[in-house]
């Protein structure tokens, strides 16, 4: 299987504390993957490195068929290359409508000059409506996103990610603070997305991970402890010791 993202031998430390320690990780072009691990295992730092927010001290992060190094690119270049990221807390532009939020995320030329002269074509409006339908916000298109409920904001953010048409989606704790029904909807959205692209989900909630029904990577102290199906890793003695047993 070809790989979309290859992280090899990456280490990073903050003030002497090794947040990521010789981590290696790879994911294929259409794959759903869950990353679990105790607090401080380096899950969020891993995402920061891939999206360009944090520079690693050593190691390589290679992207796509041409094995382009992501370490020389800044956040916006990485995003344009096709990596989308969803943060732990919902970060949508609360002062703007759902429509505007989605329109901003839509995959289009991002240069200031072309954005200045951009006027939405009929197909763009149709695409936005289609996305809104998918995330269940079709009736809320012209409401300010600040008025939405917590779960709706999470979906809007997932919708914005889908609008970006990324090849890799990094999702940080999507189910946090959601009701059971909202979680099911979120699982469906992620599974659907993973049919055409790579999706990496960081999650604490075991039930949610089980519902995703995918390969699981367990992180501990900045490196991979175990990898495989959920049943496989939960039987692993190391995993039980550091994570599940507590």
């Amino acid at each position: 299987m070809s790989t979309l993202l290859e992280v090899s031998g990456v280490s990073v430390s903050f003030d002497g504390f090794k947040a990521i320690n010789n981590l290696s990780f790879s994911i294929g072009p259409a794959e759903l993957r869950a990353i679990i691990g105790p607090n401080g295992a380096g899950k969020t730092t891993f995402m920061d490195i891939v999206t360009g927010k944090t520079r690693p001290d050593e190691g390589a992060v290679l992207w796509g068929e041409t094995s382009q190094s992501l370490l020389r690119m800044n956040e916006s270049q990485i995003a344009r290359a096709g990596i989308g990221r969803k943060f732990q807390r919902p970060t949508v532009f609360e002062d703007q409508t759902v429509y505007d939020n989605l329109a901003m995320a839509l995959k289009k030329d991002r240069a200031p000059w072309s954005v200045l002269f951009f006027r939405p074509a009929a197909e763009d409006a149709a695409r936005i409506e289609e996305l809104a339908e998918e995330i269940g916000l079709a009736d809320e298109l012209h409401r300010k996103s600040g008025e939405l409920s917590h779960g709706q904001k999470q979906w809007l953010e997932i919708g914005m990610l889908l609008a970006q048409e990324p090849r890799l989606l990094l999702v940080d704790e999507p189910a946090a603070g959601m009701t059971l029904a909202e979680r099911e909807h979120t699982t469906d959205l992620l599974k659907e997305a993973a049919k055409t692209r790579a999706v990496v989900v960081v999650e604490h909630d075991m039930e949610f991970v089980r519902r995703l029904d995918c390969r699981v990577t367990v992180l501990h102290e900045g490196s991979v402890l175990a990898e495989g199906s959920l049943d496989h890793v939960t039987k692993n003695q190391d995993v039980i010791d550091v994570y599940l047993g507590r």
Binding site: A79, W113, K144
Partner: protein
């Protein structure tokens, strides 16, 4: 989304209509073309006020919409004034010198005329040579280009350095203050080439217009200022109405998120910084011929702080708010500091408004910030009954420049 620009932004039409009616009213009441109810000097004051409204729109774009509190935009305003002032002074001195030397027995050579102009202009700073920066001063077209190019390039270079290093929030404000301070200190020097603290003067006299009364000239500049304000308002409204406006408001509320959407935040900031600097420069180039004089004190740091105060009092994040704030505060300021407001005798002390105006302005700024963060423009909301999103008082984004919920417009 098929509705026209004006249907989506009804305030633009209202603004243009109000501006047109105001311009007509002043024209009909001026000394040149009307009843003479308004004195020439007051027409000039009104014309200058329109220029201040234009620079306030620029400030609102950069601060109210993009969330960058630049405290240096009056430097660009002043530079625009200096650029047009150089031509006005050169061309007028040339006319005077040519007339006086025409009576000489031996006709003067071109070089002699240039030398005589140099002596006239730079005599006050003990020099008679033209500094290199005056090389284009004899050409109106080139000097008009410099009105846009010099402040534009300064903003481009300064902004590139600042935004590339991701300087934000209060640090950026301090940096812009340092820029305007450095520029004004430099210009205060006699050998800066712009006549030091004397500045450029006599700018109200248009070259070759000796026979045209100031009443007419003042009205021309008033019309030009009104036209520039109208065009500037349209341009600003157009910039913020589309997706570009969406992106810069996104940068104001959550810069990191915009970056992860794939937008180059630095590029957008630089774009807005430069375009607002150019708008400010054009406003300055129309202001100083009406003021008649420009000197380095005009670009002192306090000038840019006043600009921020106008926009805050008028209501940031809405274009008409900036215009209302600039017009209201600067006209009031003219009244109070011009001795047109009677003193208040308290028996033991007399409040003389010339001295106390700044205290009043400072107090009202604090009061507006605390109790009416939407500013005067917020009164419009009472009429239209607009509701901001309910976030229980939290900021709309995690960044320093983001609007507080109370300020947010629908």
């Amino acid at each position: 989304m098929t509705r026209s620009f004006f249907a989506r932004n009804p305030s633009v039409l209202i603004f243009i209509a109000v501006l047109a009616v105001f311009t007509l009213a002043v024209t009909l009441a001026s000394e040149a073309t009307g009843t003479g109810a308004l004195s020439t000097s007051f027409v000039k004051t009104l014309g200058k006020t329109l220029c201040l409204c234009l620079v306030a729109i620029a400030m609102d774009l950069i601060w109210g919409y993009a969330g960058i509190l630049s405290l240096g935009h009056m430097a660009f305003f002043g530079l625009g004034g200096y650029m047009i002032g150089m031509w006005l002074m050169y061309a007028r001195t040339e006319a005077i010198v040519a007339t006086s030397m025409a009576n000489a027995q031996i006709p003067p050579t071109d070089q002699e005329i240039v030398d005589a102009i140099g002596t006239q202009i730079f005599g006050v700073v003990g020099s008679s040579d033209f500094p290199p920066i005056w090389i284009f001063a004899d050409s109106l077209a080139l000097q008009l280009m410099l009105v846009v190019l010099v402040p534009g390039l300064l903003a481009l270079v300064f902004g590139w350095l600042a935004f590339r290093s991701r300087v934000t929030g209060v640090y950026l404000s301090i940096l812009t203050q340092a820029m305007t301070l450095a520029l004004s200190l430099y210009l205060f020097q006699n050998d800066s080439g712009l006549r030091g603290n004397n500045g450029l003067s006599g700018l109200q006299n248009l070259p070759g217009a000796n026979n045209i009364p100031q009443a007419d000239i003042s009205l021309w500049f008033f019309w030009a200022s009104a036209f520039a304000l109208g065009v500037g308002y349209l341009l600003a409204a157009w910039i913020v109405s589309g997706k570009f406006g969406s992106v810069i408001r996104g940068i104001r509320d959550d810069e990191a998120r915009v970056r992860f959407l794939g937008y180059s935040v630095e590029g957008y900031k630089l774009f807005v910084f430069t375009i607002t600097a150019i708008i400010a420069a054009i406003a300055g180039a129309l202001y100083y011929p009406q003021a008649g004089i420009i000197n380095p004190a005009e670009i002192a740091p306090i000038a840019s702080i006043y600009l921020a105060v106008w926009v805050a009092i008028g209501g940031r994040g809405r274009l008409y708010g900036a215009v209302i704030g600039a017009a209201f505060v600067s006209l009031l300021s003219t009244m109070f500091t011009g001795g047109q407001v009677p003193s208040v005798p308290l028996g033991f002390y007399t409040i003389d408004w010339v001295d106390w105006w700044q205290v009043l302005l400072g107090l009202s700024f604090v009061l507006v910030t605390l109790f009416a963060p939407k500013g005067i423009g917020g009164l419009v909301d009472l009429v239209t009954g607009r509701r901001p999103p309910d976030r229980h008082g939290a900021d709309l984004g995690p960044d320093k420049g983001s609007l507080q919920e109370r300020e947010a417009e629908q």
